[in-house]
């Protein structure tokens, strides 16, 4: 190999290291935190379940088993491994109030919950980023108007505001998602505004302006990338809150409507049966907790991993 080729190879290597380093460092730090790893494992399993639900679920989540199998309404779980007679059909999580297989419904519920978390937070991040960026970049009356509106949104307890918005829009999963999205906009707007304010006056921004960069260029290419890190952390933790709030709305009958296999509404429709069929209340709630926990652990881990003050630990 001649000298020039070696140099080129070294250059390429150096460049490739540089271009992935931030994410690689974050990744490495993330893996060092036990809680973050636990969060990622739980989340990974949930994602696999969500993607493969139609193959791993033993029953159709909407199929009513009356006349198909000798099962009773709200029958307790029957697991062959734990001594349930072999001649009875196996239902790992029992039968629900409408004589459907609870386990299949729980598996499909993973899909709904992950979708709820991702869609509401994406919506809130997009709108929140735009509002926060405009507010922080332009300042003055734009800032005042936008942030006062955010203050008003924050003045209501988020679940109550979501309930109120759903009332106006009408109950249903889509409207519940929209409501939760709207009430979570302010936290993202504030995060973005804060990062925009912190770099707005920096020299490299002035340099871009001096070079003739448009406002759009400055804002989206030079300033907003700085807001990425806090947004990722806030977003991950926000998914956890969104799933909890959506489950609460569905529990109250304002979100997902039966027969959709959504955990909150599954739990809500059986809540009066807690003393007679506790599995129908325990299992969906446990599933919600596990999902929320995984996002919380991951979010906390990301916050630590992305914190520049801890940079020397790598």
């Amino acid at each position: 190999m001649n000298q020039e080729n070696k140099v080129a190879a070294l250059d390429a290597e150096a460049m490739s290291i540089k271009s992935v380093s931030l994410w690689r460092i974050t990744w490495r730090r993330l893996f060092r935190r036990r809680s973050a790893v636990v969060g990622m494992i739980i989340l990974g399993i949930l994602v696999v379940i969500a993607l493969t639900a139609q193959w791993i679920a033993p029953y159709d989540p909407l199929q009513v088993l009356i006349g198909i199998e000798p099962v009773k309404q709200r029958q307790a779980p029957c697991i062959h491994l734990f001594g349930c007679p072999e001649d009875q059909p196996q239902h790992i999580a029992g039968i629900d109030g409408n004589v459907r297989d609870e386990f299949s419904r729980l598996l499909y519920g993973t899909r709904v919950s992950l979708w709820i978390g991702l869609s509401t937070v994406t919506f809130a991040i997009v709108i929140g980023t735009i509002l926060g960026a405009l507010s922080g970049y332009f300042g003055g009356w734009v800032d005042n108007v936008i942030m006062r509106i955010m203050d008003v949104l924050l003045a209501f307890p988020s679940l109550l505001l979501a309930i109120a918005i759903v009332t106006v829009l009408g109950p249903g999963l889509t409207n519940a998602l929209l409501a939760i999205g709207i009430v979570s906009i302010p936290s993202y707007a504030r995060v973005v505004r804060a990062s925009v304010l912190s770099v707005r006056e920096m020299d490299y921004v002035s340099a871009t302006r001096a070079l003739g960069g448009s406002n759009f260029d400055i804002l989206f290419r030079r300033i907003l990338p700085n807001a990425m890190t806090p947004l990722i952390v806030q977003g991950t933790l926000g998914i956890a809150t969104a799933i909890l709030d959506a489950a609460a709305l569905s529990f109250l009958g304002l979100g997902a409507q039966p027969p959709m296999p959504e955990w909150g509404s599954m739990l809500g429709s059986e809540r009066n049966q807690v003393f007679t069929a506790p599995h129908l209340v325990f299992l969906p709630g446990f599933a919600i907790m596990l999902t929320v926990l995984s996002f919380n652990l991951l979010g906390d881990g990301l916050r630590d991993a992305l914190d520049p003050r801890l940079a020397h630990n790598t």
Partner: protein, 359 residues
Amino acid sequence: MIQYILRRFFASIPVLFGILLVTFALTRLIPGDPCRAILGEKATDEVCDRFIKEKGLDKPILTQFGIYLTEMSRGEFGQSFRFGMPVTRLLAERLPTTVELSFSALILSMIVGIPLGIISAVKHNSWVDVITMVWANIGVSMPVFWLGLMLAYVFSLLLKDTPFWLPPSGRISPGISSPSVAEVWGLTLPETGFVTGFFDFISRMNILNALLTANWKLFKDAVQHMILPAVALGTIPMALIARMARSSMLDVLGQDYIRTARAKGLAYRNVVLKHAFRNSLLPLVTVIGLSLGSLLGGAVLTETIFGLSGVGRTLYEAITARDYGIVQAFTIVIAVFFVVLNLIVDISYAYLDPRIRLN
């Protein structure tokens, strides 16, 4: 300090105006006929026509907003068609339950959360720390309604014939009398008025009432009924407080002045409790303030599960029954309450950290 309080107070006026605007928009945007929404489905056309004229609902929207603002500033919240009584009276009846529940939950979360957080920080990375943090992570991830139902299942059903049994719903057992504070103290109060209202309000908070009237039978019963709802509602703030207490304590314990205090020979205990704890309070105040919002939201769920007729459950039922008199009034009261709490948090923040009020 006074200047700071005034500044913060005036800053919250646009927010209060915004709240009124949102609530106004909410009641006007709700689909359907406003007259039947307010008077109920059974109202006849004749009654409705008169009602619309009377309330000015046929006037331009801006005029309507003006009328609404005047009514609100006079405290005229209107009637609830389902209960057939003024909304303000309903509020006076239901608010004490929620206040009692939220305060019990908050106090519980503080007396458990703060010491746990401090111990975890002092014994950093020990098993106490690990268990507290695992538990705190699970605590913030639990749906309030699930926790409530599970607590009821365990304490009201599984532990039925043990001394640990706790009632699954209600505020006091039938047969327990709760004479009002004024009655027991032998006060003669006027029919209406602020003092009467005040005494009425505190009498409706069973635990406080029992304490003030030394009614121990009522006290035991009311506390028993309050434990499960307070634990269900208080778990999330408890976990948040424990986490924040730990991390801010860890921050402070790493400071130079802590080492100085130790170096000059002060007992570790004193250093932690007097020097470190005070300085770690600031972030804690924020978390406690923010928790109040989630408490009010969580109160809807907790009250629904434990059959308590408080503000949250009444508001939720009013929303589903489209009882707009209640929706309007309760939303405003909750939001205003929340704004005032935030104001108090901000002011205590300034009190604890002089740098804030001087900036």
